[in-house]
Assembly symmetry: D2
Homo-oligomer: 120 residues x 4
């Protein structure tokens, strides 16, 4: 089956939303737990951006970890494990003319790293 045949039952906007959701779920669960310190934030952010850019329909990725939280949570060992609380991420997906940005950010009230979309 041709790749496109799988998506005949979705509009372009729906598929952009679907692929954004997949890539955000993928990013979160692939990289949570990675050892990280203030000095390695930048190489990890770049590697994750490049990796997620490979996924279907993804045209832009911005990964920004919370440096203060990483500093604060670093143990006497000098580092900590990456958590959802540290993540500020935007993934832009595009299907034909439809463009969607999927975001994750930590909501203090919900105590939860929430994923949602922004229009372009």
């Amino acid at each position: 089956m041709n790749e496109k045949d799988y998506f005949r039952n979705m509009t372009d906007r729906e598929r952009a939303i679907f692929e954004g959701g997949i890539s955000m779920g993928a990013l979160f669960h692939q990289f949570v737990g990675t050892p990280v310190s203030v000095s390695t934030i930048s190489s990890l952010e770049r590697a994750i951006e490049e990796s997620i850019l490979l996924q279907p329909a993804v045209v832009d990725v911005t990964v920004k970890f919370d440096e203060c939280l990483i500093k604060e949570q670093s143990s006497v060992m000098g580092y900590t494990s990456l958590t959802g609380e540290m993540m500020n991420i935007k993934i832009t997906t595009k299907i034909n003319e439809k463009i969607i940005t999927t975001c994750i950010s930590y909501d203090e009230d919900l105590q939860y790293p929430i994923m949602y979309i922004e229009e372009q």
Copy 2:
């Protein structure tokens, strides 16, 4: 901010699709690499189903790994690592009256474990 306020810019169907995508991306990247053999397939399938059922909007999960492939790829060590090729999974998400099933199955032609949706 209230949880619902994050999703004012999506229809119920779009959000069901979004949450299905998130949960499928999450499942894939959380569990790929897990040591598995023919005799542990069943406990792993059940634990994954229970875990993914916790995610927002998910109302049903069916995880079925390819027993033949797991047998065939088990090394002399008696087990192998879980890969996308082994996965047959359906995740059903529901937002109000809208219900979507998100699937992953391996497409031999594409050499790719493809994620797509089915209508209910």
Copy 3:
């Protein structure tokens, strides 16, 4: 090369320690991030035990997650992500007559989930 030839430069005790370390590192980084709630603790513990038992030299695994912490950290969404802080795990490895137990537990002073060995 035969499997045993890889380990000619280690004593039985050293290899039991090595395999214990591998399996504990594997367990931690494979499963950190998994969605978990009080009601799914038990199926997740069993699946992880069965999975890690497949690894070389492992003869026993006991996984016990901190129920209070999981309850406490569960968000309004009803669940949380598995962290190292929640883990109390023992993995027993055996090479010929040498038996070692590798442990992980959270040290409040160090703010760190520390891995160490116990004699049998």
Copy 4:
């Protein structure tokens, strides 16, 4: 408890071996499944090296993925998922004067990515 008190029952060599095992198990299970293509190998290798260097006792890490295999296994989507088969990695750990190098490489006969140590 002081960190050092946890390790009174191990020689320096044993602890170097233990920490090497932990870090190799960690690396494998943290990063297996990461989307990778020929063009992203290098940033992923660097980020993994920097991340694993944070772990206790680790003084050097060399990550080299199999470019041919990544090219060959890339689907029509232009990328693949990182597997153990692609990994050539050396992690050097040091406790006082004792230095150990932990390696992973794929053994074709065993069909298994085997972890072992090299003396320094």
